[in-house]
Subunit: 212 residues, 2 copies
């Protein structure tokens, strides 16, 4: 359980997890770093280096036990527990995320949706009623919330961010197209869709497939 794992490694972890899950589904019980590297388009060296940041999960002459490694990475990713999430912004994106079952399956539970638009308040999404944003502060005080999902226009972020900070939210999954200024105690993960699209157009106009 080392400290100072680089971001590059962290970003590869979910991908390892995904590939190991696929292997499991296909009934493959063992895998060598070499074989996994070929499938994932990495080097075997890199895989062994990455995994050894967290422990010795393999066995010389054998490789890695898929199920064991899968469980280890699951635990490394913090998936042994569940998380309570609230969605700020009940528009298209907020509703789409609330409807997406894959998150729930992995232990991320949406417990509330907030919006300030009276037309949206009261609508039910997957059994969750969109609540008035004015109740956010009280909700945070009375419920255990781990992650706030920001799915609202960037112009409105400043209206809710102070409330989240004041209530010591642990994590923010930010879909708004701004970089948030938050205290160090809050972990922010950004999904900037527009940035992603511009990266694509850059590469299209240069015609290089320097993927990922």
């Amino acid at each position: 359980m080392d400290k100072d794992i680089s971001i590059a490694v962290i970003k590869r972890l979910p991908r390892y997890y995904r590939y190991l899950g696929d292997l499991l589904e296909h009934g493959i019980t063992r895998i060598s770093s070499n074989d996994l590297a070929r499938r994932m388009n990495l080097t075997a060296s890199q895989i062994r280096q990455d995994l050894n940041k967290f422990g010795c999960f393999g066995q010389q002459g054998y490789g890695y036990n898929v199920e064991l490694l899968y469980d280890e990475i699951k635990s490394i990713l913090g998936l042994q527990r569940t998380y309570n999430l609230i969605i700020i912004g009940g528009g298209n994106l907020g509703q789409t995320l609330a409807n997406y079952s894959n998150f729930q399956k992995r232990g991320f539970k949406f417990t509330a949706i907030f919006d300030k638009n009276p037309r949206l308040i009261g609508i039910k999404i997957r059994g969750l009623e969109i609540m008035d944003i004015s109740g956010l502060d009280a909700y945070l005080k009375n419920n255990s919330v781990d992650i706030a999902v920001l799915a609202l226009p960037k112009a409105n972020v400043s209206e809710v961010l102070p409330t989240l900070i004041r209530n010591n939210i642990s994590g923010i999954w930010n879909f708004s197209h701004v970089d948030l200024k938050t205290p160090d105690s809050i972990t922010v993960e950004n999904v900037h869709l527009t940035d992603s699209l511009l990266t694509l157009s850059y590469r299209l106009s240069r015609n290089g497939k320097d993927s990922l």
Copy 2:
């Protein structure tokens, strides 16, 4: 117009573009690498290195002209032209993306949406009627399409990917939770929401704010 721009640099370009746009909006006409670095939480050195990969946009003793630099980066990102996009998958996510006006504003035009679900076919999203996926091949042959947006379950990707490849699509914006196997001529940009969320839970469970 160098070759071999690293992915790290490419990923910073949209962020430069965004910050410069903000500066423009605030009527700021010049900026030094130092000032921009402070705002963006980068080093001045890195900014100058990044920009000089593409040209000499600054002036000693003065800094950078915001509008000029903004336009340069716009052009570097390939935003001097428009792109035609089709969305494969007319579910929640596909509809959300079609509704999102920011993309249109930057020159990304959605020209069609496809699905195989009879319940969705015929529904209009922003004036776009969801079409039967069986018409995809013909559509690609008769229309100029730059980017296909994959907003469908991973299980269904294999049903449409061959058609896209056969018709020489230039770019794929992939929201499906699989890594695509495509020829080098196709540029793929992945948005793996689940991976992003797992990255967040990893960091939450480790409690380190090694942001980005």
